[in-house]
């Protein structure tokens, strides 16, 4: 039997005050953490895919072993790497 969920049933009930508080106190921190992880992932991707890009950092054996873990991130990594960067991107108050 298939239970059809009503539209929006999965969505949590919005609590504006709680979300405002979270945005005020925590969102900047979370964004910063994500960005830090992004820079670390860049390094990891470079290490793993380095030999294909002309930077032989890891032996190909290990690169190939790690490749399956990298594949899901390749699209967003490529987007981030190719995107133009400016210092004004980092200003967030």
């Amino acid at each position: 039997m298939i239970f059809k969920k009503k539209e929006g049933e999965n969505k949590k009930k919005s609590n504006p005050l709680k979300e405002f508080m979270y945005g005020f106190a925590m969102h900047g921190n979370v964004t910063y953490m994500l960005r830090t992880r992004m820079y670390m992932e860049h390094l990891f991707m470079l290490m793993t895919l380095g030999d294909m890009l002309g930077f032989p950092i890891l032996p190909p054996y290990y690169s190939l072993r790690l490749l399956p873990y990298m594949v899901p991130n390749i699209k967003s990594w490529k987007m981030r790497m190719l995107r133009e960067r400016d210092f004004t991107d980092l200003i967030s108050g």
Partner: protein, 598 residues
């Protein structure tokens, strides 16, 4: 009734009602007719979602984040100075009119501009719309802007720590609590709830320590010596905070500071609204005159730069187009997030207006806010709590200044690194984080040392407002390009650029004229600097003259940069008009329906 009208409550209430009306009708009208938000159109957050920079965020979360990012010392210090210079009526008028017709429009439009330009920030947008030269001007401009901002904020931090003995221990213990919280959460993997409880207990201990350990006493080295002492102490702490990784200190500190900060803002607003009950009423004149008390500044153009944030602020456009625009979930969220946060920040300015209006003491700088806020809050909750509130609001000011300043120093480093990145030779060392951090703090201390805060604030306000003018004109350029009506940013942008160039030029002229005749101090505040030097047998004139010339050159640079940027922007608007074949008056090309026509 007369008593009621002599309290801040009705004016704050009128401000709130006008904000609501402006948001509900004018802002929504512009939103619907000019930008035409389409909930079905993909935003950069959904189109380029990478889970790091671009990802959709709930509008309430983003509103809280935007408000936190734009609110700092600006909306507090500006009204405090302006009410003492020209009276409360012109200050209130500019706060309310400024935010209704200019402030929200800038924040919201800058955000929408970025959303419609793939989430790009101001640097690339300026480059694309106006050209390479304009982007270079923007960079130079930000270089000076961050320097002036640092000087103004470090002075305020020092003056507050000196004025309210014991407040330093609160921020110091909160910083230590931040370090502990960071270690507990990020290293020891504690649950954030328990770590927060522990850290907040430590912060509370900080308040108790600050209340009982009032050492060193206010002005323990004389006013000048004490303010310089605290400036150096804060410069050292800021240098450390700006160099160490953010999760070690600043992120947990900002998080902890949130709790007393939000309580302070709410307390002042509620106390101001309840002032008819507490009986706290205006003690300052409604209108002093067209020439300011103490400084002699003319109302136009200087009122419009003295109150920057709270009415309109260029900083906000950087924030709106920096991070927030990349996380807007739907186009219909741009107005509540961008415009809503600006209206909320203006409420903070109204609270500062209310606080400074109920005390009669002359307190230049942010300390007047502390005394006024304590008067309002103790009027409601009990006079016996006055001293406690003084410390509470003093710490609030320190938190607000410190949280923003550490980030500003980091941004300045980025600007400097960008400026020297393509150069060769030893100048590249300026991109080093230790060198750059030391440089900005030394330059800021040099400005503070001359004790011309009231003039430096005008420079800071001027650069801030000019940046806002650039943002408004940049939006007008884009709207012209896409054949949309641009009058709602073009007219305020033109007003702001003329007013702020005039304000900076006037301040620069005062510095220049003083450099020829430095026997008398520039301001009453600078007399303290004169006294300090003569106390050590040093003749102040050559030093002051040299500083005046430097300050004049800074002002002149700002004016030249502003005129250049204005030229680029207006030229671009005219070029796009020509390309689009628009023949109607500038800003008047419209596909916009009149109200009620839809």
């Amino acid at each position: 009734m007369a008593d009621f009208l002599s309290t801040p409550a009705p004016y704050v209430l009128i401000g709130l009602v006008l904000y609501y009306i402006a948001y509900r009708f004018y802002a929504r009208w512009i939103d619907k007719r000019v930008w035409e938000p389409d909930p079905k159109r993909s935003t950069p957050a959904t189109m380029y979602m990478d889970g790091v920079e671009y990802f959709p965020v709930n509008r309430y979360v983003l509103y809280g984040f935007q408000f936190k990012s734009v609110a700092a010392l600006g909306p507090i210090v500006g009204p405090v100075l302006a009410v003492q210079y020209w009276g409360w009526l012109p200050s209130l008028f500019w706060i309310v009119i400024g935010v209704i017709f200019i402030g929200w429009a800038q924040d919201y439009s800058a955000m929408f501009l970025s959303v419609r330009n793939e989430g790009r920030s101001f640097g690339p947008i300026t480059y694309n719309l106006v050209g390479k030269g304009a982007r270079s001007v923007l960079l130079s401009y930000l270089f000076i802007y961050f320097w002036l901002l640092t000087a103004a904020f470090v002075y305020i931090l020092a003056a507050t720590a000196n004025g309210f003995s014991g407040s330093f221990y609160i921020i110091f213990i909160t910083l230590l609590s931040g370090v502990i919280l960071g270690q507990l959460v990020f290293k020891a993997r504690w649950n954030i709830f328990y770590a927060t409880i522990l850290a907040l207990i430590l912060v509370a201990i900080g308040y108790v320590v600050g209340y009982y350990v009032q050492f060193p006493a206010t002005n323990f080295l004389g006013v000048y010596g004490s303010v310089m002492f605290w400036s150096i102490i804060f410069a050292i702490i800021l240098a450390i905070a700006a160099i160490v990784p953010l999760p070690s200190l600043i992120l947990p500190f900002n998080y902890l500071a949130f709790y007393p900060a939000i309580a302070s803002v709410a307390l002042v607003i509620i106390s101001a609204l309840l002032s008819p009950i507490s009986g706290v009423s205006f003690t300052r004149p409604a209108f002093v005159g067209f020439t300011a008390n103490f400084t002699g500044f003319p109302l136009w153009p200087l009122l419009f730069v003295t109150i920057a944030c709270g009415a309109i602020s260029g900083w906000h456009s950087l924030v709106s187009s920096g991070t927030t625009s990349k996380q807007v979930e739907s186009e219909i969220d741009a107005l509540p997030v961008g415009g809503g946060a600006m209206f909320t920040e203006s409420i903070v300015a109204l609270s500062a207006f209310a606080a400074i209006s109920v005390i009669s003491a002359t307190v230049l700088g942010a300390n007047g806010y502390v005394l006024g806020a304590a008067t309002l809050a103790s009027g409601i909750l009990g006079k016996a709590l006055y001293n406690g509130f003084v410390l509470f609001f003093g710490a609030f000011l320190l938190f607000m200044g410190f949280t923003v300043e550490t980030l500003v120093i980091r941004y300045w480093r980025l600007v400097l690194a960008d400026m020297v990145s393509e150069r060769k030779g030893s100048i590249r060392i300026l991109g080093n984080k230790y060198v750059a951090t030391t440089l900005i703090l030394v330059l800021a201390l040099a400005l503070i040392a001359t004790f011309t805060f009231d003039y430096i604030w005008e420079y800071f306000g001027g650069t801030n407002q000019l940046f806002a003018a650039f943002a408004l004109l940049l939006v007008a350029t884009y709207l012209t390009k896409v054949k949309k009506p641009s009058w709602y940013t073009l007219i305020p942008g033109s007003f702001m650029i003329v007013t702020t160039i005039a304000a900076i030029a006037y301040t620069a002229y005062l510095f220049l004229s003083h450099s020829f005749n430095p026997t008398k101090p520039l301001t009453a505040l600078q007399q303290l600097f004169y006294n300090f030097l003569t106390g050590y047998g040093i003749t102040p004139y050559p030093i002051v003259s040299a500083f005046d010339v430097i300050a004049f050159l800074v002002g002149l640079s700002l004016v030249i940069l502003s005129i250049t940027m204005g030229y680029y922007l207006f030229k671009s608007i005219l070029t796009y008009r020509k390309e689009a074949g628009i023949t109607q008056p500038i800003g008047g090309k419209t596909t916009m329906a009149k109200p009620g026509e839809d």
